[in-house]
Amino acid sequence: MAHVRRLTVRARIEQLSQIVDFVSQAAADTGFNADEIFHIQMAVDEACTNVVEHAYGGSGRGDIGVTCLIDPARGLRIEIRDRGKPFNPNSVPIPNSIQGASDVDQLGAGGLGIYFMRKLMDLVEFHFDDRQGNLLVMEKRRSR
């Protein structure tokens, strides 16, 4: 049967390991294997790093709220909320390395985090509204 777990931490880089541990436990309890848990960890780490560094601009002010909906039959749904700057995923470039750049001088710094999230999870959705702030929803489904 599905159940819900919630965690709220300050939006600081040093808090991210607490979020990653929390989500990893939820992933294990959903029944994912070690490789899948690693992929979920990566996606959540990248997402929360973006919140700390971009939504809150590294200020350390504000919270990150993480909700896990654990359903061993279907999969894991992760909701990440913040009240920082609105995030527009369309403003993030596709990493040059993914587009086949093999010259190191052509490589930019940005975009890898979101690329990883989309590559590793089955669903990635960004929402924003003035009252609730940013909401990122990611899902990883159990393979049948």
Binding site: I13, E14, L16, S17, F38, Q41, M42, D45, E46, T49, V52, E53, P95, S97, I98, Q99, G100, A101, S102, D103, V104, D105, L107, A109, L112, G113, Y115, F116, K119, L120
Partner: protein, 111 residues
């Protein structure tokens, strides 16, 4: 994350990294490599055998360090990445940019 540095007599240095390389720890790796650059040492092997986890922050550190090394006529190559580190490098498409060797001896020999 743990880092150890062995400065080689042939001016090739081996940076051995283990544990988690993420947004919390990547700045420390960047700092250690920059200290080598400050000593005009730009021929670097990064041994990733003990890396349990690496995020895009770790990859950015490797790529920016590679750029700096190359701009000074040097290079930065990867030795014996763990399965996790290798997967992340490939996922990012950086295996065409970062030279990867099976062991440290082979990596040192390319300089």
């Amino acid at each position: 994350m743990e880092i150890s540095i062995s400065e080689g007599q042939n001016r090739v240095d081996v940076v051995t990294v283990s544990g988690r390389v993420d947004s919390a720890t990547a700045p420390e790796l960047e700092k250690k490599i920059r200290e080598l650059f400050d000593k005009r040492r730009h021929q670097i092997v990064v041994d990733l055998a003990g890396v349990e986890y690496m995020s895009s922050a770790g990859l950015r550190t490797l790529v920016s360090s590679l750029k700096t090394a190359k701009s000074h006529g040097g290079n930065l190559v990867i030795a014996q990445p763990s399965a996790r580190a290798h997967e992340v490098i490939e996922l990012a498409g950086l295996n065409t940019v970062l030279a990867i060797y099976d062991n440290v001896v082979d990596a040192v020999r390319v300089f």
